[in-house]
Each structure stands twice: as structure tokens, then as C-alpha cells.
Symmetry: C2
Subunit: 408 residues, 2 copies
């Protein structure tokens, strides 16, 4: 049995970076940037007016209030065909290039037109005021976005301003997903006595898609080794093969034999984690193989902690894990498992404190309880008890930003 940390290190050691591809900017959201992006221009590309007003020489306005000659107007999108001399000013709009000769912009609210050719400057203005100098934000050739970043809306803006209408990104990992178990029926079915609906297929597929994978569903295989092997074979070739169920120590846990029959090599078969100890990882040629527990909460937690980082690493992501926070426990929790506990909890900022309340759960099969969690509170294997008010580390889950952690 390996520790959680050892297991993750083994997994990441087996990951190969996928090749890149190019996508249109409007398809790049959520993908992983494959290159450092350099700016192809200075930004701003010219000394840019930051306010509507009058471009002038600051020295001329030192004795304000005073009048200046208005020699013309510069609008955004125009290149100025005028030059501001001593005693002169040019009407200017936000975003427009500051014309030669001028070194400041006095905002329009501090001016007063006198007639068609003269404006009163009502107060002085310092050199450089209301001007964003050329290259003050970015120099041509500067790295404006680093490779390995998930492309979000702010990155889209930078890519657009850098002229990247096509974006090099990592190819999506192909992930094939099999669920096993004689008792499993489709979500649309009415389970007969003894049967349960397939929740792992849809939910693990959703987790995989959120981690950037292209998911292929291999359906549900019954508890027969040859049926499992046939279903797995149908999923190959693929970058990642995930099987839910059939990996604990029971007589009918047939996933390992089926994988062995296909030629898989196992790197570990058990991790000191709760929920989820029976967790199989190995290789089948170039394919990474994960055998997750069939228990739905265990499947979701182990996917989050082990499969997601592998998928992100294949895409070259810089950050592979969710943020971890130290939280104050709102209720006491225990851990007699001897394994590293990851306890579903609701975490909420309460003033300056971050408070975690474990969700009331009847155990690792309790999907509805798990769905109320926005974090996993961690108790190390040797921490058998933690009282209310003590602190513990917690992994923030993917729904944390959509959930205020308030009581439901």
C-alpha cells in the first residue's frame, strides 16, 4: 500500500506530454496554452490619451487658468497629422495617440471652450498626466502569457490583443471510461430489486471533461473477466483508460485479471486513502490505466486527487492540483482508518476565518451528501481525532467558486 503522495508521484512520473495543436481563439477557452505568448507590439503601441480632454505642453499650463490655441482634434483610431507647439493644444479623445509636441492631457472637465479656436485650461497639469506612454504596459517581445496556463477569459483578452487569432494548445487527452458491476443499470432504467443506477459513468465523465479530456464511454460490463477484457479492448487505443468498480479484494473483482490478460503492468494497487483504498494504477503500452473504486463517492474523490492531475499534466498545465487551505473545523471529526482521510465538507469564509463543516453523510456511498460539499478536509493517517475549533488542511473542490458555503 502506497501513500497518497507516493501514488501521485508515481502517476505523474508516468505521464507524457501530449502533442500540440492549433485552435481558433474562440475555441481556446478552457484549453491549456502550449507556448509562451510574446507581444508582437508595444502596448500601448503609442503614447495614448487616458482621458477625453486637451493634449498640451505641461509647461504651458503651469500658470493656469490661461487660454491656449486649439489647433485641431485627435480621435481614437486616427494617427495625428498635427503637432502641438508652445501655447497650443489639441482636442483629444480617450484611446487616441497623443500628438507630437504634447506631453500631457488635461481632462475635459478642467477646461472650458472659449471660442472655435481657443480653450481655457482651468488648472495646471503635470508632465505625463493622463497619458499612458508607449510600451508602458508591455514591450514588444515581452512574455504576456506563460505556457501551461488554463485559458480563461482574461487570457483570451491578452491573446486577442497579441494578435493570436489561432492559439497553440495541448491536444485533449482521450479518455475511455468503463463501469463494471452486475448490479448496475442505466440512469434511465427503473432498477429491479438489488440493482442500482449507473452514477459513476455520467459523473466521472463530467469530471474528465472538466479536466480537458475527450471522453469515450465504454458502457457497463458485467462481472465476468472476459466481458470486462472485451470492453476494455474496445476502448484501445486511448491515452487514459479508467475503470470504475471491480478493484477491491472480493472474489468478483475481475478488473485486475482482465487488465493483466490484456498485458497491463501495475505500478500500485492500493493507496492509503479514505475513501478509496482499492485504487489501481498501471500502464498498458502507452495507455495510463486507472482502476477506481466502484463506490461513487470514492470514485469521485480518487478521480479528483489522482486522475485529474494526470490529465492536466498530459496537457502541460503548470498547476496540477486545486488550492489547499487551512480551515477551522466547525465540527469535530474522527479518522480511525489509519489512512489519509478526505472528508467532504462545506467551507465558507466567515469574516477572516475559513470554516469547514463536514457534510452529514452516512458513508462513502452517500452521493447526495457528497454533492453538498465544496471541499475535502484532510486528516493525516496518524490524526485519529480533530475537535471543533482545531485546524486542518482542505482541498477546495471545483464547485467552490459557485457555492458560498452557506447552510443549505
Amino acid at each position: 500500500m502506497v501513500t497518497v503522495e507516493e501514488a501521485l508521484a508515481v502517476i505523474l512520473g508516468e505521464v507524457s506530454r501530449l502533442p500540440d495543436e492549433e485552435v481558433a481563439l474562440e475555441k481556446a477557452l478552457g484549453r491549456v496554452l502550449a507556448v509562451d505568448v510574446l507581444s508582437d507590439t508595444d502596448l500601448p503601441p503609442f503614447d495614448r490619451a487616458a482621458m477625453d480632454g486637451y493634449a498640451l505642453r505641461a509647461a504651458d499650463a503651469a500658470g493656469a487658468p490661461l487660454a491656449l490655441e486649439v489647433i485641431g482634434e485627435v480621435r481614437a483610431g486616427q494617427w495625428p497629422d498635427l503637432s502641438v507647439g508652445p501655447g497650443q493644444a489639441a482636442r483629444i479623445m480617450t484611446g487616441a495617440p497623443v500628438p507630437p509636441g504634447a506631453d500631457a492631457v488635461q481632462q475635459v472637465e478642467k477646461t472650458q471652450p472659449l471660442d472655435e479656436f481657443r480653450v481655457a485650461i482651468l488648472s495646471p497639469v503635470g508632465a505625463g498626466a493622463n497619458v499612458a506612454p508607449r510600451a508602458s504596459e508591455v514591450r514588444k517581445g515581452d512574455v504576456v502569457l506563460a505556457r501551461g496556463r488554463a485559458i480563461d477569459s482574461a487570457a483570451i483578452a491578452v491573446l486577442a490583443s497579441a494578435g493570436r487569432s489561432r492559439v497553440p494548445v495541448a491536444r485533449r487527452p482521450a479518455l475511455a471510461l468503463l463501469v463494471t458491476g452486475d448490479e448496475i443499470v442505466d440512469a434511465s432504467a427503473s432498477p429491479a430489486p438489488g440493482q442500482v443506477r449507473n452514477s459513476n459513468g455520467p459523473s466521472v465523465a463530467a469530471q474528465a471533461r472538466l479536466a480537458g479530456a475527450d471522453v469515450r464511454l465504454l458502457g457497463v460490463a458485467p462481472d465476468r473477466e472476459e466481458a470486462i477484457a472485451a470492453a476494455l479492448r474496445a476502448g484501445l487505443p486511448t491515452d487514459v483508460l479508467v475503470v470504475c468498480g471491480g478493484v477491491s479484494a472480493g472474489d468478483y473483482d475481475l478488473v485486475e485479471p482482465a487488465l493483466l490478460a490484456l498485458g497491463a503492468r501495475f505500478l500500485f494497487t492500493k493507496v492509503a486513502i479514505k475513501p478509496g483504498a482499492p485504487l489501481v494504477f498501471g500502464r498498458l503500452g502507452e495507455t495510463l490505466v486507472f482502476g477506481l473504486p466502484g463506490n461513487p463517492v470514492s470514485a469521485q474523490v480518487t478521480f479528483e486527487l489522482f486522475v485529474r492531475p494526470a490529465l492536466l499534466s498530459m496537457q502541460g498545465r503548470r498547476v496540477l492540483e486545486r488550492p489547499r487551505a487551512w480551515v477551522e473545523l466547525g465540527d469535530g471529526v474522527g479518522n480511525r482508518s489509519g489512512r489519509k482521510l478526505h472528508l467532504p465538507a462545506r467551507v465558507r469564509f466567515e469574516g477572516a476565518r475559513l470554516v469547514a463543516r463536514p457534510v452529514r453523510s452516512m458513508g462513502s456511498g452517500d452521493l447526495a451528501a457528497h454533492a453538498r460539499a465544496n471541499a475535502l478536509v484532510i486528516l493525516e493517517p496518524d490524526r485519529r481525532e480533530a475537535a471543533a475549533g482545531e485546524t486542518a488542511e482542505a482541498v477546495l473542490l471545483g464547485n467552490f467558486l459557485e457555492d458560498d458555503g452557506a447552510p443549505l
Copy 2:
């Protein structure tokens, strides 16, 4: 000029909840659940074995080690056709129904088969041990997911287990987006002197999609009132109309006149916020109209704070805003604007502290700096200065969970 809080209250007061539609479970990820979901079964639907082992009467095992008669086997997916009497046990697999008569499962590791018909139970087991009783997680009719929730992978699991292969969700808001400005050229173009590339179109569209909207791009309109009005008219009817640019006090800010010409009614035209003071909100019939600043960072910040909550509210989301945290400032910051400041920052958990470092930025046009932020530090209008080590409130941004806040 209204405050940030007043502006948001006005906006949310104008929002109407959109009608519902039904989508397939595999298309429900990211949508907003429109109904409370009740479980159509008890969960577990039967007393369920939580371990592989032997189902038995706990009273029989009190004197263990001892031998019991093995009367058969129950596998997951089967309904037991046997009943466990005194002195008897049945082999049972994880997930299988506990047969009548038995009240506990002794795990296989604490047993030893003696021959085909007898097993040694090596240690006693309490009544109820390793059995998840029927309905212990969820009772038929219990609410397992509350309406207004964003459907994430954990919710997908609950929906599947509740038999919801089709899911009632709010219809996506239709959002039409126009960018204005003579200086704006497409991201694929090489800007002539005085021109800049259109970053607001792609990035605000991405923000809108992440908030659930169906986005229609109306392109870029030049700074002429009739051209703007024509472009806006082409975007109607729509649920939300967003215009970027042309809303400050300049002579060429023509968005308000164009909207007025179309019959819009304004509810406010300026908000005491930095970045982003010129911010227009109104109605055009049933359409909500937002005029955002053309400055790209201002556009992104005001979208996050005002348009996103409106889009979520139209979809019936329970939580409309991102979590806010009290952070320790890693650097001092100032706010001489007299407006509520939202300063792009990198926030990172450092042990038990949450530390924010404002990103080095040359101002509200600095897209590359903004893209390094994972939060917005808030300084109230009357807080002109905050030193390093002081605390402030911060809004966590959408990339917070993908970004460890470490120095780049």
C-alpha cells in the same frame, strides 16, 4: 452616480427568471437546475453490504471464533433467494442486498473457509456492522439536489442515481455583444498606427459563455450614432445587450444617444467604482442593456461584478456572486479615486493566511497584468491607503481554482 451596491440591487431588481427547458443528463453539466430533485427510491434501496464477506446474525458470532454453515452466496445485482437462519451465514459481495435473517456482514479478511459448507468467523461483529441500511442515505421523496444549483460533476452523479436522464434547467440567456470604436480592428489584423486590436469582443464573450449565456457577436461599430444604432437593432430581440466602449463623457460617446434613439430607458449611467465608473444600465423593452467601458480591464471587471450576477439570476442561480475573502495585503495599496476600488491581485494561501499581492500594473488598460490576477482586492471609497500587512476584502475570480497564486 450610484454606489456599487445600489447598482447591483437595481440590476437584480430588473431581472426576470427565464423559462425552463429539458436537456439530456450528458448535456446538463454547467447548466442551472430548475427544480428541486426528489429521490424516487430509498438509498440504498435495500440493506446493502458495505464489504465483501459473510452475512450472518451478529448474535451468532458473539462467541467467535466459531464455525457457521454457509447456505449460499449473494452477489451485487441479485435479489437474494435465501434467508439466513441461526447458525448460518451467506457469502456476500460489496453492494449486494443483505439477505433476510442476517443483520451484519463480517468482512472476508476476518473469516476462513473450512470446507464447501462451513466458514470460520474469526472475530465477533456488532449488529449492523458493514451494512448500509435501506434509506440510511436518502429516503424516497427527500430533496437530493436543490433548485438554483450549478450542475457540476457531483450533481450529475446525484441526478443519475435519482433516475433523471433528462434534467429541467433554465434556458440559457441570449446575449448580444457589440464593441464600438473607430480605433478597433480585429484580433487577426495588424493594427495601423493609432489602431488597437479588439480584445473586448472575445474576452467578454468568453465571460458571458462561462456565465451560461448563448452569445451573439454583433462585431465592431464605428463611432457614428446611426452605425451603432443599426448594429444594436440587428442584435434584437435578445435577453441581454452588452455594448463595450463609447459610454464615457467624451464627445464621441454615442452609445447612450443610439440606445435612446432605439427607445431605451436608463436606470443609471455612472457607478462609483474603479476601474469602470462610466457604466450604463437600462432596459429596452424586455431586454436588459449594459454599456460597459471600452477599457478592457474595466470591461472585464464590470462584467464580473454586474453582468454575470444578472445572467446567473436570470437562470435562477442560488449564489450570484463569487466568494469573498478577507486577505492580508502583501504590498501597500492606495485609492485616491473616491470610488470603490477593485484591484487585480494574486491571492495565495500561505499556511493559515490568505495573502494578496496586487499585480504590477500600469493602469486599467494593462491586460497582461490583469491576466495574472486571480482576485480583486476591494478598497472602500473612504479608504485612501492600506499598508502591507493590513487586511482587505477580496473577490475571488473564476480562475482562482486553477491558479496557486505563486509568483509567476
